[in-house]
Symmetry: C2
Subunit: 260 residues, 2 copies
């Protein structure tokens, strides 16, 4: 397929590489920033543009991987070409595109991307939505050329997935950061924590998290929790996080608390 990438951030970079490697032809890469456009276009053997007026109609699909706030205005400018337009956002409903084109879809890779780190795209869940059946089928076919993990997900479900991903990814990463800072202030190496972090994530690859919860809260070990809270006397925010999450885990242990 001939594909035009709008955006040059983390998602555009990794998705573009995966599509290129699967044999697709990347026509153009657009970024407001000409340097960013040129860098990604160079890797993808595509043309770089920094003006949406220069977009070529000789393409089969526009993929918008910009920040959520500009998807609307970008889509309004691309619609004139009457080609399918998808975005890659977890948080944006398909309706934003449907305002401008009937050929609207979503191609949402449920993964965390950093430019500095390679991602094995073949394992990345791709959540597909199309405005009509033929478009959905076309997008799924494209998705299967780069990943074996493809699902149809509507906008309401995708919003929920995106919320869950914040709990499963962004918040844990921030908690890793707290751990790292707690160690650094006592000259302890974060390497001591890394195997534990990895094992915690690996455990839930085959188990449900509730089945493998460990630590003082699930045992309702008040002595240890009190000692920990005392260590956080000078860290009111960390103390608040510790107490709030521990209370939840204690309730989980008692079987009281369930998300409705």
């Amino acid at each position: 397929m001939r594909i035009t990438l709008i955006g040059s951030g983390n998602v555009a970079t990794h998705l573009g590489a995966a599509l290129k490697n699967a044999g697709h032809y990347i026509v153009q890469v657009y970024s407001r920033n000409q340097q960013n456009a040129a860098l990604l276009a160079y890797h993808l053997k595509a043309d770089a543009i920094d003006d949406l007026m220069m977009v070529s109609a000789e393409t089969d699909l526009f993929i918008i991987s910009t920040s959520d706030s500009v998807i609307d205005s970008v889509a309004s400018q691309l619609a004139v070409h009457q080609k399918p337009i998808v975005h890659t956002s977890g948080a944006t409903p398909i309706q934003v595109l449907l305002k401008y084109t009937e050929h609207a879809g979503v191609f949402y890779p449920l993964q965390t991307f950093s430019k500095i780190r390679e991602v094995n795209f073949s394992m990345v869940p791709l959540c597909i939505e199309g405005a009509y059946e033929d478009l959905t089928a076309m997008l799924k076919e494209l998705a299967y050329t780069i990943s074996s993990n493809v699902s149809e997900v509507n906008s309401a479900q995708r919003k929920r997935l995106h919320l869950a991903a914040v709990f499963a990814c962004n918040f844990p990463n921030y908690l890793y950061n707290i751990a790292q800072e707690l160690l650094a202030t006592h000259q302890l190496d974060f390497n001591l924590m890394r195997p534990l972090i990895l094992e915690t994530a690996e455990k839930v690859q085959f188990q449900l998290p509730a089945k493998v919860q460990t630590g003082p809260a699930i045992r309702n070990d008040k002595n240890t929790m009190d000692a920990h809270i005392h260590l956080l006397d000078n860290e009111p925010v960390l103390k608040e996080i510790y107490e709030l999450l521990s209370q939840c885990i204690i309730k989980m242990g008692e079987g009281q608390y369930r998300v409705e």
Copy 2:
């Protein structure tokens, strides 16, 4: 070495297996519960006992892997044999053992263990403390027979490590549980979340967490955060967690917040 295991829980099970595999001789396994003692003793080709009066003095080391609350009373009963006694707890200072014996130490494996899951012990950080130099050296030597990741860590540092481990392991696992429940209530498969969880943990194996933070909060994307909070209208506790952690990440992004 001849080693006596006091306890038959997750740590005793995995540590016992690693020691046995490294060629050490497990003399006895004690548990209050005779069946638990017998099961682990069977795997370790050791004798099972359910009464501390039956402990044999023909051993080189007692390893106490019980719950924290009984370490004190167990140690008081083992001291009569005048053999080295270590515990495996992150939260308990060496002083608890020093009340009863000068041959006191700590052998703390910094990992999360479940009986249902094999652990590659050779990567587990072992945090060692001994009451005197020769004992520390002996414990480090023993530790190196089962792991390549051995550190000397005193009781104050170990307490800090244990606290950090709660933030890096127990709390993230609970957040995975929230994600799983958020999906389950909308008939979405937790498998969609698993690659993301693993990648999040793998990312920080070579980077510091602060360098790879992603998500709406670090971008200070208020629209997305507001939409998420709205989705949690009927989940006041989840909303509180979402708001608290997001505020912290926003501050991290602004470079304002640091653990003192």
